[in-house]
Symmetry: C2
Amino acid sequence: MKQVNVGLLGCGTVGSGVARILIHNRELIQSRLGAVLNLKYVADSDPRAGRSIAFGKGVFIPDAFQVVDDPDIDIVVEMIGGQGIARKLILRAIENGKQVVTANKALLAHHGNALFEAAMKKGVDLAYEASVGGCMPIIKTLRESLVGNRIHSMIGILNGTCNYILSKITREGTDFKSALADAQARGYAEADPTLDIEGMDTAHKLAIIVSLAYGIKINYDDIYIEGISRITPMDIAFAREFGYTIKLLAIGKKKGDRIEARVHPTMIPSGNLLSNVNGSLNAVTVSGDAVGNILLYGHGAGMMPTGSAVVGDIVDIARNLIHGSIGRIPLLCCQPDQIRQIPIMPIDELETNYYFRFAAMDSPGVLSKIAGILGGQGISIQSVHQKGRKSNGSVPIVMLTHQARESGVRQAMAEIQRLDVVTDEPMLIRIEETNSEA
Amino acid sequence: MKQVNVGLLGCGTVGSGVARILIHNRELIQSRLGAVLNLKYVADSDPRAGRSIAFGKGVFIPDAFQVVDDPDIDIVVEMIGGQGIARKLILRAIENGKQVVTANKALLAHHGNALFEAAMKKGVDLAYEASVGGCMPIIKTLRESLVGNRIHSMIGILNGTCNYILSKITREGTDFKSALADAQARGYAEADPTLDIEGMDTAHKLAIIVSLAYGIKINYDDIYIEGISRITPMDIAFAREFGYTIKLLAIGKKKGDRIEARVHPTMIPSGNLLSNVNGSLNAVTVSGDAVGNILLYGHGAGMMPTGSAVVGDIVDIARNLIHGSIGRIPLLCCQPDQIRQIPIMPIDELETNYYFRFAAMDSPGVLSKIAGILGGQGISIQSVHQKGRKSNGSVPIVMLTHQARESGVRQAMAEIQRLDVVTDEPMLIRIEETNSEA
């Protein structure tokens, strides 16, 4: 029976998940693949990293470079993370003609174009299903299942930390800080949670799927990013009154030849399936011209779910090795010579519905001043809600708008903030009137 | 640029969807595939079938055999349906060394083993993503993405007709007959709806995915099947009171070396995502040892969604043709020599929770008689609800049980039905206490 040699770099959370699956389900995988997937090396500089797994003699080694330089290794699985040593190791593996699997979204978002180019030049596969949405097969679905579709939009909950925090505030009315502390205590948020809660991790993932869906180079830098740290229980309560739920969404859309790619807290109708995705779970809806709407849902992170996606990639590549079909699917969905340079639309040009919350003095004329400024920017108000929930001497004025343009909204917000009667920075949350069916 | 020639058999609903996608998105598909997908023939004996599509000269022909016998045709796409001519054409195509794509679940459920064997012998691919769940990539997910997983269970809403009818009864309280008539008027149900509403169509699909998940031959005959025609608005109202929703579910499970495969109306907790899948939509959750739970959701039928899945298969096979990797993935997930003969567990051996509804005279002692019979079969009652909703001189007595064995339940039902005080056939609905997270 044929054998494919796998070298694993990094035996942290996801790396050890991959090792466990390859070891525990070895015979099952063999019965499906028709070949032996041999985990030849697991490299980690921390000798404690692999202690809980019963590796054979000589499998666990400290030096990752020994793995990428070993002529017997067919597939290198990078599970180190970060953009430093991981990048060097992947490039060296490619140079050595190895196939590569990674789950490293930050690396792909920032250096993916160079890595994919190197892989294409060398004629090796570089697989990355686990980089977006953990175990959900969103990469395979976009590159393969939906290959006949023009993708209209992708709307995803792609960060479990943020979804856990927002779900907790929604369910229990706690404030952001305690929800974050709870997420940290449960291991859903890291000690420094910035990448997650400020939306960068979500944007890394969005950069990848936007590239696949629309046949453009990975463009992380032009994605508009806004995190969840300013969301209050009050906003969530207002949202509920209006029939909305607040989620941190990754939104990718194509309208004509314009591509939207943005990450921000968003109000979506409570009947929408995405609004019922709670806790640390992830989900993404994809809308295409033939498929209509589909939704994928599952664990976006974690040792075993992410490991499952990585093993799927390893087997995919092993099949290509066995059948001589490396390069069978273009790395970024489109054939390399078909990848286009279409800029991402600046957020100023966005047109959508908005929720505004102003903290204002409870005095006559306030509403007229605010409405006047909004009117001056051509922003048409759908409804106004002024309720006696006084806090710090001011009352909240909440407005929902008809479709408005972001540039005008921003100018209006700046003007309104300068009003004497407005006591705090205005809150702005975009509304996504998603299709009712998904 | 390379060219792959496609021949389409049948230009009905799905067939014309496939043709539309291949024609309208021709350049897009080409930019992803790196080759031309040439729709050389569309065969339909009804000359009106393709009238709404602008086929090139000589593409639309009456004779399907001309397609499967044409030496230029690489991929035959069978969209005729049924088990007669479709089977003959597929076998002839295989004999002629063509690759085959089909969406024909009835054919695969009944004759799949022979068809797959013929394809393996000849060394051709036979793809069938569209046969289960329309556009949801459940086949690809099971065969590829979850290849590293032991599958614990699959629970799916796989028939849009039934889901539409049950959703309508749930929402509007209409009875089954009017809900069915409405589904027929809207084109969600056929003139003869038996295959759908009696659960056979769902079972066809379950037979396929159970085979993939558990590495066994397709075994439709041993699947327990119960349809939705006896479900009343009263049962749905009771279910809601207890926090459940009634769905027609396809359930595949593995416990040790026993495989469950059954189709029946089922109560699931209303918080479960599946319970929020309404109208003609489909969804399936898959639970695996690594992946945890994932859910796929989308249109389970319809011209364009099903067409999308068929085109995904066509492109997959075209890639195999271009890269010389036909047979890259075993047709039934496992390598042919690894496929096992494990029987499907008889329904009598099922152990689950049950909902019973009895129509009984409103007289003293009734409850004690019924409870006595249940107790005699070792069925432990969790709660009893006897409400004054008199209809036809009898009152409904509703019971929820703890886990009980189906064989005992059936004996008890037969005994209870023979009681003088029981005025109608008892209603039995199985309860699935699904994992709360999916």
